[in-house]
């Protein structure tokens, strides 16, 4: 590049220099260099921008420290200094090294490896210089690092009818963030299933349940709320809650209609008893050998007028 400089002005452009300054080789060279520098610089920067935009997605199992701003703000606010990592007494937090799927240099933890122990004084937030970890979070119970989710109903031991209960037992917010909901076990027909149920109102996403899950691969996992939470329509009202709030039903008692074939029963009682079957079976089964004509049990009694 620089070797052309001395040759140019002396040899081939004197006449051009005379009539127009704007075409002088020095100027041309300057402009070319400038354009090169600008182009190169901008290209590199653009590449960085695109890369950053693409790489910004946080993998579902990487959790931010307590008090972390929403991911979008967090990536603008975190200097990647690692003070939170240093101040975590349980070595829970790590700074993402280049090549990891987490935005380079930002702090995260993986619940199944080391969960957040929910320190009451929240030391990781104390020294954050920028407020990327919000200092307004003073009660660790208000942290929302993620939401525990019982993702696998096929392998969860409690869903299989056993009394594992480990996730429920270890939960720092036991009986609020995780409750055991009692359901009839239709398989054995005589036992209960106590299903671990997470309540987003209380779950901090600390991940202790995921760490403690006894299965080789955890059936309960802490995930980003946006990934696992549904949303009721704004206009939905839960009747039983409204009734409690107002001390009675707002629409009056429900009108009861008789169910055909169930006239003798209380509204909603669909149980089939022998009394129900008896009048429906017109011919006694003994008189007819064709098994196909045997009326099935249940609602369809094949009764016809």
């Amino acid at each position: 590049m620089s070797s052309e400089k001395p040759a140019d002005p002396a040899v081939r452009v004197p006449e051009k220099v005379h009539n127009s300054v704007s075409n002088s080789p020095a100027r041309r060279k300057f402009l070319a260099n400038m354009a090169g520098a600008a182009g190169g610089g901008c290209l590199l920067a653009m590449g960085v921008g695109f890369y950053a935009n693409q790489a910004r997605a946080l993998p579902a199992l990487a959790l931010r420290p307590p008090g972390a701003l929403a991911e979008e703000d967090f990536l603008a606010a975190c200097t990647r200094c690692g003070l939170c990592v240093r101040d975590c007494p349980y070595d829970t937090l790590k700074l993402a090294a280049p090549g990891e799927p987490v935005p380079t240099g930002t702090p995260y933890f993986t619940a199944r490896t080391i969960p957040c122990e929910m320190c009451e004084d929240i030391p990781c937030i104390k020294n954050c210089p920028t407020g990327a970890l919000d200092p307004q979070l003073t009660d660790i119970g208000d942290a929302r690092m993620g939401l525990a989710t019982l993702v696998d109903h096929e392998t969860c031991l409690n869903f299989l009818g056993l009394r594992c209960d480990v996730c429920y037992r270890v939960c720092p917010v036991i009986d609020k963030a995780i409750t055991l909901d009692n359901l009839h076990n239709t398989r054995s027909d005589r036992h209960a299933m106590l299903l671990p149920t997470v309540h987003s109102e209380y779950c901090t996403g600390c991940g202790i349940c995921e760490k403690a899950c006894v299965l080789p691969v955890a059936a309960i996992r802490v995930l980003p709320p946006a990934l696992v939470q549904g949303k009721l329509g704004e206009h939905y009202r839960k009747g039983w809650e409204e009734r409690e709030k107002h001390g009675g039903s707002l629409i009056g008692d429900q009108v009861e209609y008789p169910v055909r074939g169930m006239e003798g029963k209380a509204y909603g009682d669909t149980r089939v008893t022998d009394d129900d079957k008896a009048p429906a079976a017109e011919p006694p089964p003994a008189s007819d050998d064709e098994a196909g004509d045997t009326p099935p049990s249940g609602l369809n009694s094949r009764w016809a007028p």
């Binding site: 960085v48 603008a76 003070l83 240093r86 993402a96 090294a97 240099g105 020294n127 407020g131």
Partner: protein, 288 residues
Amino acid sequence: MSRAVSRPGQDAIARKGWLAAHKWLLLRRCSQLGILALFLVGPWFGIWIVKGNLSSSLTLDVLPLTDPFVLVQMLVAGFVPAATALVGALIVALFYVLLGGRVFCAWVCPVNMITDAAAWARRRCGIKSSRAPDARTRYWLLLGVFIAAAATGTLAWEWINPVSLAHRGLIFGMGTGLWVLVALFLFDFLVTSRGWCGHVCPMGAFYRLLGKAALLRVAAPARAACDDCMDCFAVCPEPHVIRPALKKEGQESPVISSADCTTCGRCVDVCGKQVFRLTHRFDQRSSS
């Protein structure tokens, strides 16, 4: 240029002795490694003097420091940080405004050791070919860094910034960042002489802008004694800064005034004629 540019400083070693001919280089390495050590004795030996890294740190649990380059990116990305970061960045910025922005490049930045090594290897191997991008590339890139931050709303450059990546990597784990540094070495070694620090690095460009009126400067008070051995040009990471002061091109003052100068003091070391010295910007003493 015909003299042994592959081994500049022989004359200085012969006249001053090896130690004096490497004084500033050794001091600089002490500074670079010492600062790194301050960060590392915590995680390695449990002696917590400085926590964090160059992007943000906390010294002895009282002194917060934040890289003003990161802070400006943050502001451009649309986030106003808490006071700690603002104060920390102000302290660092003031320090470099007074001392010279690119003092950071020569005395603190961990990448400097890599690019110095590349420059050394380049001289030793006699690699002359150099496809140098224009030195202004770094300012465009600096502008690009801010535009990228504004457009993505994130500290986009910090994803790949080799400077913070190197320092953070040494303290918190390098990962594949090692390859970025290897690539950087190879770029400086094989492609462009002083390519990264002298032409591309937007962080250096940022600190240069900070250090325009810096007090600490290199001057050539004994420039009359210069015998044109070119050793200073061979070792200087920004060779264009020397000529105006040494050869009175466009200035009478013997002080190297360009903010490109990193105040590394290597020219002071390698000059057998003791032409250069580290001084302040108002020191106009000159033998000619």
